[in-house]
Symmetry: C2
Subunit: 431 residues, 2 copies
Amino acid sequence: MNANIETLTRDVTSYMAQVGRTAREVSRAIGRASTTQKNQALNAIADQLIDQMAELKIANALDMAAGKEKGLDAALLDRLELTDERIVSMAEGLRQIATLEDPVGVISDLAYRPSGIQVGRMRVPLGVIGIIYESRPNVTADAAGLCLKSGNAVILRGGSEAINSNQAIAHCIKKGLSLAELPTDVVQVIETTDRAAVGALLRLKEYVDVIIPRGGKSLIERISKESEVPVIKHLDGICHVYIDDEADKEKALRVAFNSKTQRYGTCNTMETLLVAQSVAADILPELTRMYEDEGVELRGCEATVSLLKKHSMDMSAAVEDDWVTEYLAPILSIKIVENIDAAIDHINRYSSQHTESIITENYTKSRRFLREVDSSSVMVNASTRFADGFEYGLGAEIGISTDKLHVRGPVGLEGLTSLKYIVLGDGHIRQ
Amino acid sequence: MNANIETLTRDVTSYMAQVGRTAREVSRAIGRASTTQKNQALNAIADQLIDQMAELKIANALDMAAGKEKGLDAALLDRLELTDERIVSMAEGLRQIATLEDPVGVISDLAYRPSGIQVGRMRVPLGVIGIIYESRPNVTADAAGLCLKSGNAVILRGGSEAINSNQAIAHCIKKGLSLAELPTDVVQVIETTDRAAVGALLRLKEYVDVIIPRGGKSLIERISKESEVPVIKHLDGICHVYIDDEADKEKALRVAFNSKTQRYGTCNTMETLLVAQSVAADILPELTRMYEDEGVELRGCEATVSLLKKHSMDMSAAVEDDWVTEYLAPILSIKIVENIDAAIDHINRYSSQHTESIITENYTKSRRFLREVDSSSVMVNASTRFADGFEYGLGAEIGISTDKLHVRGPVGLEGLTSLKYIVLGDGHIRQ
């Protein structure tokens, strides 16, 4: 295949159109493949990854060397690296996907109508999915596995710095597909590092049903702006915890602490803490000390700053920008609000509609928060860090959607499918 | 309000942005409105339509007169006209929507996870829906009713030829909303006939969640091409019936006849009949005579033409274009195919993914057809004419989607909603 790359990149647009056409063609075959066959492929790919561990590491070493030469920073190089452990974990991820229930063909709500026909809905694959991601090569295997299990053809476009690693993983995938007697083009990994390939992919309306970008905010922003194909995405995770005046103090401290500190770099980490006025003096001094002991930098609203000054604690003042910033770091903004109404207003104004949690023992307020907060995950007395496909029982996650069309929240296999209507009759005609 | 129109249209873009902003603002209020309040509004609007029947007809008479002057054809004028009967039927439609179950707030799949949290999904409104339609003024009431019941704010843009009728209906809607103490801007009917308003609406990504076009193919094509907001639509209804070699002959004749002749102008009418080779000689002569008696023009593939010649029947030959044409008229193309594989291939190649039906007594083939035909409705032994929101039990229908993202097939209240995750805990934190 490598011999063709040069020629192919000469005309990226026609290369991408060919990739799209091929994906559409093979999408029928994978759409009707049996569960067993798809699982065989997933396990065969996992076997290949283990068998070819040495080759994968050689390919990865090329990327690592090029990356160092290009002066990639340590974090990027770390994400790029394929260790034995990471290869084993990719393989295990695929075997795990094989154990998940197959969503394709599941029939629901099949019921008789007054006319005598039986009407139900059958879950079907979306068709062709395009995934655009950055440096982590493990996404190649993960994303391929989820698309395969959900009966979709997939076009994968990884970061140029991982091109050799991705091609080596692609080789394992194709081998596994072929062992399971599935078309190897069900998974296509773009072979050119030409940036124009991304633009071309985003215009393949005719062949691609949905684009899922995975990576940093700027990548996702660029893609969703440019794409003519629908995009499943979240841009920001500006998550809130609201400690209500009827919160259980112990739960409030625990959940608010965990939501911020369990991991800093994840999209479901709390970025702003809201506290009801009447309990602020009771809760904030203790809670902010917990954060400070953990090394979390705090930025408070005026009321918070002056409250903590009384307790001899200094805190920098939050500016407007703090309420709309996803720190992804040990920084937290804190605001004292009058009551649940002010909390919901603040959230619906500043939130990125990812995840918000209320801490309260009050029944009515918990119901109101659940109904009125317009985010993809809304919680009561639970850490925002639970907003995750695995924690929700989806078995796996290809991303999180903060949009409303098609799918909201963590996206698993079901999010990669659609429902068609089926009608069973016995010669029924419309009167 | 009328005094402002002149000024407003001077800058359509800023007028539409204001409409969008307002819709987004009031979407929160309608999203959390109680079922009772929404039903009160629906019934109050219905009452207003009946009370103001005389005013509606005066406004409509202005449109009819202008239409005649502009030389609109008889069919268009007929669609435009508001008779007593049609006004009563609009009102009844709204009362009917009031009786439907409220989808908003319905919680499903609430289950405990190993971590101890309870995870479920709650149905939520999409937010703001834009509807662009042509001459029928009744769409103004229907669409407003469905959006209202599903908790969405709506922006309605009707045909310029119906502007007076639509404004009169809008007046009733606003009165009804106000009687139910809901913000009157939950339903906004665009007050300008400036065509630039449509373009501006299609660019309101920030404020509008989905656009639903209703009307002819050229309108829908233009909108889906131009829109930056996601569109729920179907372009064509090129529906197929396949009579299998193991079909019950009586059922085959009945369903194939009904699928074509029950109504000609609807999107779920069969446009191409496929017949298995081995039963063609038995079925086609009788069936084609039934069609001819009904005045249906037939266009056959080569094999069909020569078969019927043997039975002294003349038929024009179908050309390639016939397989991709939605006649919306008493015309039918017929093709003899080798077997179910050839039928599925033909359908997946030429169908518009609207509705297809197989006539067979064979268990295995019925299952294959249901699984492998990639259309929004797939049927066994039933007329394609059943593909309809009312027949499927949705209670009402705002349109049909042949796309896969978000919703496929007839779109009722549920299609105007999304699912968010809810998490209930008791101070649970992520380990």
